[in-house]
């Protein structure tokens, strides 16, 4: 095949994206030259901020759609989802790539990013996470490679990849499941700093369940937008199926969240008017309760526009959750014990905007130049 001439490279949207990438690149250059203190508002009480909470934790959760759809298509053999398989896996790959860029900029010594690969520390969750990122990004590259190989017409290589695909998917699903939960496990070490609204020993699995919800919402949204932007029509049944999956996942998540709210912090902690309480309510309302109220009505569950709204709410809610765990859960400790505060700097916002724009730009280029949308 050749490039899709229906998709124009230079539209106002794309020019905007490229401008954001350039601005983000400039901010990233400033960070590399001047260090983290100059470019960010991070401090010793808030060592992890917007880049970690949004770009890394949020970005990886967004990539959750990749392993869910890959599992549906290749492991459960639900062939109806095949048309959204490639975009979902590509999104996951781009999501991890973007998380790696953010990690590269966030750590103090970017050029030592490879250290965990040789300095094994199996007692460190961060090391487990690092190894997962390396292995899973490689796996996602393999899972995404058929498009490129088909475009290049490298038939032998395409056939070889096809032969190991199922194995790669099973391996990838295992890695991704563990990686999503390991990101939650990172925070198990901070029970005396985090608010009990978020800290629980079940945190790894709450991360996993919410990543599944986020992943379903992401692939659904992406397919809806691609249908509009790239004229790739997907059977509405796919959206309804994803919506049902979202309903079940959110219901399970709500039960766990409510159980841990009562068991750990007490219901009062959510309604005490504190920053932590309010952020908890926001996260739950936007990401869980309102979407569930919409989804339980069959009429909205079988309407693409209704599902679109639900998807956006869930994505926003889970992003808020990741930033809550990473930043706001320690607000009281940091204010009372450390007298510290944090709000992201302009450069932190610019870099994030640039990274997200870069991802969308790459996705669009893939839609134009690669056989991204294939029908079952």
């Amino acid at each position: 095949m050749s490039s899709d001439h229906e998709i124009k490279t230079w539209t106002p949207h794309t020019i905007g994206l490229v401008l954001f990438v350039i601005l983000g690149g400039a901010a990233a250059f400033y960070r590399m030259q001047q260090g983290l203190g100059a470019a960010t508002h991070l401090n010793d009480a808030y060592p992890w901020g917007f880049w970690l909470g949004f770009d890394v934790l949020g970005g990886v959760a967004m990539a959750g759609g990749g392993f869910i759809i890959a599992a549906a298509v290749y492991i459960f053999n639900w062939k109806r989802y095949r048309p959204i398989g490639r975009p979902a896996v590509l999104t996951a790959f781009l999501g991890y790539l973007m998380a790696i860029i953010a990690l590269f900029l966030d750590i103090g010594h970017p050029w030592r990013l490879w250290h965990p690969a040789i300095m094994w520390q199996w007692h460190s969750v961060m090391w487990v996470v690092a190894i997962h990122v390396i292995l899973y990004t490689t796996t996602l590259a393999i899972e995404s490679s058929p498009m490129l190989l088909e475009r290049l017409q490298w038939h032998k290589a395409r056939k070889a990849v096809g032969g190991i695909m199922v194995g790669a998917v099973i391996f990838g699903v295992m890695l991704s499941t563990l990686h999503q939960s390991s990101l939650g496990a990172v925070f198990l070490i901070a029970p005396s700093k985090m608010s009990p609204l978020w800290f629980s020993r079940f945190l790894p699995y709450l991360f996993l369940i919410s990543a599944i919800a986020m992943g379903l919402a992401m692939v659904s949204t992406e397919a809806m937008l691609s249908a509009k932007a790239f004229k790739h029509k997907v059977d509405d049944e796919v959206f309804f199926g994803l919506g049902r999956g979202l309903l079940i996942t959110l219901a399970v998540y709500l039960v766990f969240k409510l159980y841990f709210l009562v068991a750990n912090a007490g219901v009062g902690a959510a309604f005490d008017g504190s920053v932590e309480g309010n952020m908890y309510l926001l996260e739950m309302a936007v990401g869980v309760i309102i979407p569930l109220l919409i989804l339980v009505r069959k009429r909205s569950r079988t309407s693409v526009s209704g599902l679109f709204a639900v998807n956006l709410l869930v994505i926003t809610g889970v992003l808020i959750n990741r930033m809550n765990v990473c930043i706001f859960s320690m607000q009281r400790y940091n204010a009372v014990q450390r007298g510290a505060d944090y709000f992201p700097s302009g450069a932190e916002f610019l870099v994030t905007l640039g990274i997200v724009s870069f991802g969308i730009f790459l996705f669009k280029m893939a839609a134009k130049h690669l056989p991204l949308f294939v029908d079952a």
């Binding site: 010793d44 599992a71 492991i75 750590i107 199996w122 961060m126 198990l188 070490i189 901070a190």
Partner: protein
């Protein structure tokens, strides 16, 4: 119907059970125990006069080769870079301050070592945990305990600067060089460069009152227990500088708050504190428990190998079972 709800629930519930199950194989956590020759500091706030000699000498001796504040270019981190060469006046631990004396005050603040209308000094620095969270979370092993002395040491060459140690340390000790484009984490390393040469930490060597006392942890624990047992108002010959130095100073015993901070906190620390007021008044987070912090993440990590095997097996089985099915579901 595209997603069969029954299937979905089966899989979800199955993996949920698997995750929640308490699978702890024979692999025990590798808890660190106190080495018999481990060293530490006993800080007694009731002896501290707030002269900050420990702070000044900490900076001075840690700026020397091998010290924790030593800069690659040899510059002195505690002097402002101006012709006046003014010393800094830190208000908190930082990348330039390993050790700091702070003060608690209440009301009129006239009674030393009392809660009401009183005041107390307190020293903050790395407590050198027996089983440190920073070393357990570090993905590259930049933090580690030195064999023998048990000092929690840091190797800048390995460090990637992820700052997980800052998040993990319950005492908020490690500090990052935010202003440096090639940064380090900075914390007290108990003057390991001086200990290696038979010396001991500068804060204790230059403490005039014995408030900071260096020694083997077992001796310090015995000394702390002895002091807590003394009746307030009696006289006691307080050892100076380090246990076994032969120097001492008699002083009237203050009314101790009956607890040795660091004996059990976070699984025990090699540096310990005594004071006349409760330790949460002195800035210690009351939510810190006696839990060994590394166990918290270890409980998860032991499950990882089992989860890897279970997920690979489950994926393979499901794929085999469903591969010949049409999509008529």
């Amino acid at each position: 119907m595209a997603i069969n709800r029954r299937d979905f629930l089966k899989v979800t519930a199955g993996s949920g059970l698997l995750l929640a199950a308490d699978v702890s194989p024979g692999l025990a956590s590798p808890p660190k125990s106190l080495p018999p020759e481990a060293v530490g500091i006993l800080y007694d706030a009731t002896l501290c006069i707030g002269c900050k000699s420990c702070m000044v000498n900490c900076k001075k001796y840690n700026s020397m080769p091998g010290g924790a504040l030593r800069q690659d270019n040899g510059s002195i981190p505690y002097e402002y870079q101006s012709s006046a060469r003014i010393y800094d006046a830190p208000t908190d631990l930082s990348a330039k301050t390993l050790n700091i004396i702070k003060v608690y005050r209440s009301g009129t603040g006239v009674n030393k070592d009392q809660v009401e209308n009183g005041y107390s000094f307190v020293q903050q620095h790395c407590l050198h945990c027996v089983d440190p969270a920073c070393a357990s979370v570090c993905p590259v092993g930049a933090f580690h305990k030195l064999p023998g002395s048990g000092i929690v040491a840091y190797e800048a060459d390995k460090c990637i600067g992820c700052r997980y140690c800052e998040l993990a340390c319950p005492f908020g000790v490690p500090r990052f060089e935010w202003r440096n484009a090639s940064p380090k984490l900075v914390k007290c390393q108990l003057c390991r460069h001086r200990v290696a040469e038979g010396g001991y930490s500068a804060c204790c060597e230059f403490c005039p009152t014995g408030a900071s006392l260096f020694g083997k942890v077992v001796d310090l624990r015995a000394e702390a227990a002895r002091r807590l047992a003394l009746p307030a108002g009696s006289s006691y010959d307080y050892p100076l500088n380090r246990i076994g130095s032969g120097r001492s100073m008699p002083k009237k015993v203050a009314n101790y708050y009956q607890h040795t901070y660091g004996l059990t906190e976070a699984g025990g620390t090699q540096c310990m504190l005594l004071a006349g007021v409760p330790f949460d008044k002195l800035g210690f987070n009351p939510r810190i428990t006696d839990q060994r912090y590394p166990d918290l993440t270890w409980e998860y990590i032991v499950k990882v190998p089992i989860l890897i095997a279970a997920l690979l097996a489950a994926g393979t089985v499901v794929q085999r079972l469903t591969r010949n099915k049409g999509d008529d579901r």
